[in-house]
């Protein structure tokens, strides 16, 4: 299969990107300044991320669609206001995670942002679960551009007036040069920022305008260090078909109302795990010193018993040290528990810690 290119491919090339194949797309892993500088620029200024490889699934329908989606997602969708977003999951009957996603109520339906590697499968699953009752478009005609970091609001509002009035996890339609643009205040870096959905045709011109205003392109490499410092999960690493949202320590994303009533896919297992606990759970891990514990690194307790495995680990430029997340047996998951990480045959001390590693600054009260 040929690898796909996003509508910003030419811009990435012009910006001297190093490319990597990711979920069937040629994506920029970094540009000439490198991951650490790109990471810092996002934290201090404003970074642009091409996330056009992600799925933008539009589902159109009225009340019966809301009912049907509530049987799929553990969310209180009846009370989700127009243009408001929620983080959620597509789960199996066993509450295993097929994908994590952002669902937004739009006029006449919902917009769901899906992971690139999962989007085709998600589409199939959803189409089947919804019995092909609704118009569903996995829109390949639109690009998705994230702009993240403290200066993003100033930069984006100088191009699209009014975005500064959006609150975190809400969005709206805007018009720019006769193009319909859907902007949400969201992102995956732990910074204030926006995600902009617009036509492929307009994406390159629009992004060059953001660059003219002082934002810089940031690759997938820094996206990974940023999300990891922010304690955010990455599908295929922290999340997979054999992990549940409760095990992933994401129970905050499950509506309490919906847990009481049940009746969504995976609700039996979720309820059971919430009432009786889980065997393994996702935690933050801070290695001592500078040692970096990568994915699949084995975790031991003080009695040299294997208690879990790292799912993501790297060097956090803003933390200025190594950071990791992983799953450990629940009884060893308490904050400040001493653990050991086996790296290149040697056991290195580390501590279970709270998340995030780096404090977020989301905008909650504009209006």
């Amino acid at each position: 299969m040929d690898t796909k290119k996003t509508s910003l491919y030419q811009l990435h090339q012009d910006s001297k990107a190093k490319f990597v194949e990711f979920a069937g797309y040629q994506m920029p892993i970094q540009y000439s300044e490198g991951i650490v500088e790109e990471h810092r620029f996002t934290r201090n200024h404003s970074g642009i991320f091409d996330v056009s490889h992600m799925g933008q699934l539009f589902i159109y329908g009225q009340e019966d669609l809301v009912d049907d989606l509530e049987r799929i997602f553990p969310l209180d969708l009846k009370n989700l206001k127009l243009n408001h977003s929620k983080y959620s999951f597509l789960m199996s009957d066993n509450a295993g995670i097929y994908d994590d996603l952002i669902i937004t109520k739009i006029k006449d339906g919902f917009l769901i942002i899906l992971n690139a590697a999962c989007k085709e499968n998600d589409y199939k699953i959803l189409k089947e679960l919804l019995n092909d009752k609704y118009k569903m478009i996995l829109d390949e005609e639109r690009s998705l551009i994230a702009i993240q970091g403290p200066k993003s609001v100033e930069i984006l509002k100088s191009v699209i007036q009014g975005v500064e009035n959006l609150n975190f996890m809400s969005g709206n339609w805007f018009t720019l040069d006769d193009h319909n643009i859907y902007v949400t205040r969201s992102g995956y870096t732990g910074e204030d920022g926006f995600e902009v959905s617009l036509t492929n045709e307009f994406a390159d011109r629009f992004t060059r305008r953001l660059i003219d205003k002082g934002a810089k392109l940031i690759g997938l490499g820094a996206r990974d260090t940023l999300r990891l410092e922010a304690g955010l999960c990455l599908y295929g690493h922290e999340l997979s078909k054999d992990k549940t949202p409760v095990e992933a320590n994401l129970k905050w994303a499950i509506s309490k109302e919906r847990i009481l009533k049940g009746n969504f896919i995976g609700s039996d297992i979720i309820t059971k795990q919430l009432n009786h606990g889980v065997n393994k759970i996702r935690v933050g891990i801070k290695p001592e010193g500078r040692i970096i514990a990568r994915e699949k690194t084995k975790i031991y307790n003080e009695s040299n018993l294997e208690i879990g495995e790292i799912t993501s680990g790297t060097f956090g430029p803003s933390v200025n040290g190594p950071v990791a997340m992983g799953y450990v047996e629940n009884k060893f998951s308490k904050k400040d528990t001493k653990i050991f990480l086996e790296v290149r045959g040697k056991k290195h001390p580390a501590t279970i810690c709270g998340l995030p590693f780096y404090k977020k600054s989301y905008v909650k009260g504009v209006n």
């Binding site: 490198g34 991951i35 990471h39 490499g221 260090t225 500078r290 190594p322």
Partner: protein
Amino acid sequence: MSEVKYSKEHEWIKLEGEIATIGITKHATEMLGDIVFAELPEKGSNVEKDGTAGVVESTKAASDVYTPVSGEVVDLNQSIVDDPSKINQDPENSAWFFKLKIKDKSEMDTLMNKDEYDIFAKESSA
């Protein structure tokens, strides 16, 4: 007189008398990206030609560092362990990794000179 030679694993080696100073090339640092961790062999240990003699890690991945010649580790550059970003800044000079008392000077003959390495690096990254 000192001579600098290069290995296919992108190490440079500078021989002065029987003491060899070893580091990684600028080309290697460009391929690795930002280096955030460095591990060196133990002082006093013996390393064998083409064996592992350290690790560097970028934000992306870990890579072994190999020694292009055999010998006894007689000195380490602790400053690159304390601040690995120095390796990106000055890889072929102040950010050397370790020094060896070499065993067999003829091992140097198997390595590339500057011109040969430049061609090799260009081809291997194409």
